[in-house]
Amino acid sequence: MSRLTRRSALGLTATAVAGLGLAGTAYAATASGPANGVVPAAGDGHTGHTGGMDHTGHATPAPFDEVYQGRRIEGAPAQGGAHGGHHGGYQVRIDGKELHVMRNGDGTWISVINHYETFANPRAVARAAVVELQGATLVPLA
């Protein structure tokens, strides 16, 4: 993918980070943090509104449903309560197909598509996956 595309995805991440007020910790953990030349953008404060706290004290991210670069991305707390272990009790879909996500102990997120860098919330993880997929469809593991 082009660096520009990737950078825009990271910009969105940074916006979401600022929205959650986690900028310091989340960015310290990312491969593409400020040390590598990516400056977090100012947040609009409208992402990452919370639906309550889980047992580790992290806010459960609010549901989302939007079209990003032509793909429908949806996220919501998992059915059956927020006790989904490392999934963070949260389910993310791209065009209806599940994107496996995991919440880190510090409240940041990764997915099966971006497994070695962290994002501020499930929406940022979903958007990064859309960029990385370049139009491809998620499939259950073969």
């Binding site: 990737r6 953990a29 491969a31 490392h86 880190n104 102990g105 099966v112 971006n114």
Partner: protein, 275 residues
């Protein structure tokens, strides 16, 4: 005795033998079994659940055991083959001989990330990506796109200088230990950053689909050996009684017959060409 060499020093015959062994394991299905195992662990290793392969103290012994098993599979094809290591502090650009057509092939094209040259290019018909998380069945890379710079020698040295192996909470949040800084969830970020720098499958849960996975981890493994040499009084931690992680003498899944203690001395299994 197996001697693991710097990939930059391999002769063309050694490169050819390594590549041929990889292609044979791919053909007979053994290669993909390793990809499946790795993904199963990486998807279940959570910060507050049972964790073995990643984000935990056993990250290093688990991958050491995983690489030994893979190296033995290669050697069942060609007994002269050993895993080469990729010193990404030295060979740090997309024009390195590592990415040449006679070895791993280069970066992917921009349209779809597809690797177009070398033995693992989709067009050669010998390297289908079968264990995958999306519809793309070809090897992909985007060298330097996800993050522009590979870790430097100075960054590696700063991590090798850390004196404690690992510390509570024994996961991706541990702030003061060698293991988490080498793995890359904190600090200058070594191992994780290299996955992101390569991009394509290397950035995903099915990262061993790219043969460079083994050469990257062989170097991470070598850094662990160097760290041990530098800090002979610093033991593997935790020693015992720690929930959700593998203590020194507890067995590791999926083998269930090997402990971190068994993995501490790599010289029982192989040596490196240089310190």
């Amino acid at each position: 005795m197996t001697v693991r060499k710097n990939q930059a020093t391999l002769t063309s015959d050694e490169k050819k033998r390594f590549v041929n062994a990889l292609l044979t394991l791919k053909r007979n299905g053994k290669y993909d079994a390793f990809v499946t195992t790795h993904n199963a662990f990486i998807m279940s290793d959570g910060d507050d659940t049972d964790r073995v392969g990643h984000r935990s103290p056993s990250f290093l012994p688990w991958h050491r055991r995983f690489l030994i098993e893979f190296e033995q599979a290669l050697q069942s094809v060609d007994s002269t083959v050993a895993l080469p290591y990729w010193d990404w502090t030295a060979d740090r650009t997309a024009t390195s001989s590592l990415w040449a057509a006679d070895f791993l092939g280069g970066t992917g094209r921009s349209r779809d990330g597809q690797v177009m040259d070398g033995p693992f290019a989709s067009s050669g018909g010998q390297w289908a990506i079968n264990v995958r998380v999306d519809g793309r069945n070809y090897l992909r890379r985007a060298l330097g796109a996800g993050v522009p710079q590979l870790p430097t020698k100075a960054e590696v040295d700063s991590v090798l200088a850390m004196t404690t192996y690992d510390e509570a909470p024994w996961n991706s949040q541990s702030t003061g230990g060698f293991r988490n800084h080498l793995e890359g969830w904190r600090g200058v970020n070594l191992h994780n950053r290299v996955h992101v720098w390569v991009g394509g499958q290397m950035g995903t849960g099915v990262s061993p689909n790219d043969p460079v996975f083994w050469m990257h981890h062989a170097f991470v493994d070598k850094l662990w050996a160097q760290w041990q040499e530098r800090h002979p009084a610093s033991p593997y931690l935790p020693a015992a009684g720690t929930a959700n992680v593998v203590d020194l003498r507890e067995t590791m899944r999926p083998w269930n017959n090997v402990t971190p203690a068994d993995m501490l001395d790599h010289k029982k299994f192989y040596t490196f060409d240089a310190a």
